[in-house]
Subunit: 335 residues, 2 copies
């Protein structure tokens, strides 16, 4: 039996209906989607909402710890979570290359759907396009999301203040090293597994424990260095990190020292930076550590008055060096 | 001077910031985007909202009457409009191929932005990914949108009732024939210009004139035949069209007769079907005709009790034939 694959004829008309009814909807919405309207309609009496979007182009599509579907769910869930918004609705839009295997598509969409189910999120609307062979790299996914912002919470990358504590939710660099190991066949890093995870439960725990939390940002493309740069710039402050406190898993240390990369530049998909007033740091860390994926959460630095450099690192041997943004794309198509 | 192009290094870190601040944000949000948060936060006291998503992969990227940016704005605006929702917020997510020219990108994003400005829509959030040369076809765009549903309006493809009038907002098939003419270098159809247009003003005029409107659907991929099939199926009715009443522009007639295609199968990007109780048909048509792009709006058929065929055509010479859905992808990558 030959593997069934996406054909150009699945792009519209009967072919599209068939693809939707036999593959995509069963994988995404196991209970069925009912009448498919052009847009999804919902009521929200007097609530503050959050809306975000993200496209996913990771290569390879499947990797230890996840796949592009896991990423597409977590990426948008995490963007909402970082604003203190409980993720509520997700859209899923696919760009498929002719020849893509149904089996792989089902596996990926099922991963996406499972995370939504776990998090109580409804997949509200979607879209599917098929392009000819050689015009896309297998599968690209866009997800957009709407969430309800927790009452009384106000987070922004512009809210960090000198004196605040900087916390990271766990060991950094696993997602990036995992993708790199897969792509480049790095045997010494083959044990790496992506940290990809939905962060809403962790974000909620932090906000419940510390409603005064100033900033939450997930450290995806460009790594922890990039998000701290963004926060420092938007808040007009600097951030000083203590190298000895930053949790870096052994496999990430090994890969980075071998390849001459900085763990602070490596992408994560399930780690976030949290900035809280200093007296609340212990409570935030304790809230995080109640989750297995955040058992290594800790304070890694402090916000200070604006300095010449946005982000500084106190090294283990006592020196201080500026932490740069990654110069460009270290690892293309990491998410 | 060489043309500046997207590079892989624009995918993250400083490179991405540069691309955003010099190209993408200026084109999309001329007034500047302020602090870029992970998600967009907004208040809506006790309103009914609509949420939709669409990815655009049209080839070629630019064509008479529009470009992929025009389509990306209109597609999502129109999906919201068809639900009676005033489009309010739009997300814009780009997948760019390495080597894509900045000039073309700016032109496309400016088209997108201009339509949003005209319609009073805010571009609320976005995302940009860069993939390596040969892994995407220049540029793909996803837009998702949120709209506020007009109070008292309730539209659904499931609401058509026997006796209702079926209206189309203007001459059909122009978008599809335009793309085909560009792609296949059809000189006899080179005068064709896409009908791509934002339909909210038209939809609002119909709803103001006929609050009892039952169904509105834009006739995009798969053409008018596909949307009427969907409506017939969802409403458990059949639809009888009068061939002589269906407005088909001369250039579409010519292209279809030459190529053996059915105008009912050709995609539109600025035409929609409206179903209203029969006594309201004249009011709906008059409301549409107040717009230049809908001057050919007219009643083209009637909803009847469910028949063996979902859609039937009374031909000009007096016969009746079933109208099929297009069998598959007639024109790949039409939007």
């Amino acid at each position: 039996m030959t593997t069934q694959t996406v054909r150009l004829s699945h792009g519209s008309g009967k072919g599209l209906q068939e693809l939707l009814s036999t593959i995509i909807i069963p994988a995404l919405i196991p209970g069925g989607a009912g009448v498919l309207e052009d847009a999804f309609v919902f009521d929200i009496p007097g609530r503050r909402l959050a809306f975000t979007t993200d496209s996913f182009v990771v290569s390879p599509l499947e990797f230890p710890g996840g796949n592009i579907g896991t990423l597409a769910a977590c990426g948008t869930i995490n963007d909402l979570s970082m604003m203190g918004a409980r993720p509520m609705l997700l859209s899923v839009s696919l760009i498929l290359e002719e020849g893509f295997a149904f089996e792989k598509l089902t596996r990926i969409l099922t991963s996406l759907s499972e995370i939504c189910t776990q998090m109580g999120i409804r997949i509200a609307c979607g879209d599917t396009k098929v392009v000819d062979k050689g015009k896309a790299d297998g599968l690209f996914i866009n997800t957009s999301g709407i969430g309800i912002v927790t009452v009384g919470i106000s987070l922004s990358a512009a809210y960090a203040k000198p004196g605040d504590a900087v916390i990271v939710s766990g060991g950094i660099g696993l997602h990036g090293v995992t993708i790199l190991a897969q792509r480049e066949n790095l045997h010494f890093a083959s044990a790496a597994e992506s940290d990809c995870a939905p962060l809403w439960p962790l974000a909620k725990a932090v906000l419940d424990a510390v409603p005064h939390t100033r900033v939450m940002r997930d450290a995806t493309r460009g790594g922890l260095a990039s998000v701290l740069h963004e926060i420092a710039t938007d808040s007009k402050v600097s951030i000083v990190l203590m190298e000895s406190e930053i949790p870096v898993p052994q496999v990430v240390k090994g890969a980075c020292s071998f390849l001459g990369m900085d763990p602070l530049h490596i992408a994560n998909e399930g780690r976030f930076a949290i900035i809280v007033p200093p007296e609340w740091a212990d409570k935030a860390v304790a809230a995080l550590r109640s989750f297995a994926i955040a058992k290594d959460a800790c304070v890694i630095g402090q916000v200070v008055e604006k300095d010449r450099f946005p982000v500084l690192l106190k090294t283990s041997i006592g020196g201080t060096r500026p932490v740069e943004m990654p110069p460009g794309e270290l690892l293309p198509r990491i998410c």
